[in-house]
Symmetry: C2
């Protein structure tokens, strides 16, 4: 298939919760694509932490009740953050053209959803978005240990590679950046992973980079009280 | 890029554990591709249940110590079952060419690794490959409940679609088939999901279909004792 944009001129609407790393992935790529392709998109804020993904209006659009969701003008929707990234990046520099490099990028994106997000993002969620007496807090030690194991896999890769998406920055970096950058919110320190810290700095320096929204005051207070 | 095979004539070696659904996905696709393209591959059995993924020889090939792993003759390796499927299927009828359909297939494959495998496959693993007095068995009720929620999402899709990969059978079906077909090993009954049962029958009827290896006698006895 051609390397032309697959998205044509249709307006894209993203339903997302700004402090969610899975949602921020989509915003970061769209912002970075926008710098190159003058693309436009709408962002509809859906606060999944207070049940807005469970409203009747939202469930009519997306019966799975999850964010992020990408919607086209004709009503078609796409869910799963990394599938959205892959679709948006097709034909751009953020997805390598070489089949083997593409496969490696996709491999890191599956690693992110299987071995990284369920530990690092979930530890952060428990710290910032559950009460201090939540029974879920008993999960934190195991989640942090598994999160550190995932970071060790990333550290090993970064000792001999600059990026996760192939020879250049791309969607596997965006997928892994989201929750790695805020691992500290879940009580996972990054200082034992110097190559990861260097890579985070390289990602932040890419053209068009936008940071994720900070947690609101209530979530930040819970995070501070969790450490 | 062209729809020609990306794999050229290089011999592929798959390191896998035959009763693992993640590994069987790769075998099933290769068997089905072989019927069309006269492809050859080697299968190296690695019993992850007795620690063979942790041997020095295996860790030298794959420091992450996981199966399945695909290796090329020149030593390059690819991990993550669904990334392997995507790479192998490129240029074949098992991966739709239409970008939106491809994105939907990928979306289901991320769903499989995030919302399906960690419940349905893990419940099966605990039942068949941990002792009857394992403390992990306390996880089973919650895993089964989440597994049924994932099956309900599949059931809803199948009420209006024949396949998960677009208009035809393909890699999202292969990814979801693997552990759905053996959900009963983990104590998750499929009778409440008639569209899922019909789809499983359609998958089994596809050309070149091969079933997954049955658990060995010891695992089967543990499964039987778990129900």
């Amino acid at each position: 298939m051609a390397r032309a944009s697959r998205r044509g001129g249709a307006m894209i609407t993203v339903y997302g919760f700004s402090p969610s790393g899975n949602c921020h992935k989509v915003r970061l790529l769209l912002e970075q694509l926008g710098k190159r392709e003058d693309r436009d998109y709408r962002w509809v804020e859906i606060n999944s932490a207070i049940g807005e993904t469970r409203s009747a209006d939202y469930l009519a659009l997306n019966p799975a009740g999850k964010v992020p969701m990408l919607a086209l003008d004709d009503g078609r929707v796409l869910v799963e953050s990394n599938a959205i990234l892959h679709w948006l990046a097709e034909g751009s520099a953020y997805l390598p053209e070489d089949p083997w490099q593409r496969a490696q990028a996709l491999s890191w994106m599956f690693f992110e959803q299987y071995s990284h997000e369920p530990c690092i993002a979930v530890a952060r969620f428990i710290c910032g978005w559950t009460p201090l007496d939540s029974p879920r807090r008993a999960e934190l030690p195991a989640l942090r240990e598994k999160g550190r194991a995932a970071l060790a896999v990333m550290e090993r890769h970064l000792q001999s590679h600059e990026w996760f998406s192939g020879p250049a920055y791309g969607i596997a970096d965006i997928a892994l950046f989201a929750y790695t950058d805020v691992a500290g919110h879940g009580g996972i320190e990054l200082t034992p992973f110097p190559a990861v810290l260097d890579w985070l700095r390289r990602v932040r320096a890419t053209p068009g980079f936008v940071p994720m929204a900070a947690p609101d005051a209530r979530a930040q207070a819970l995070i501070d009280a969790s450490l």
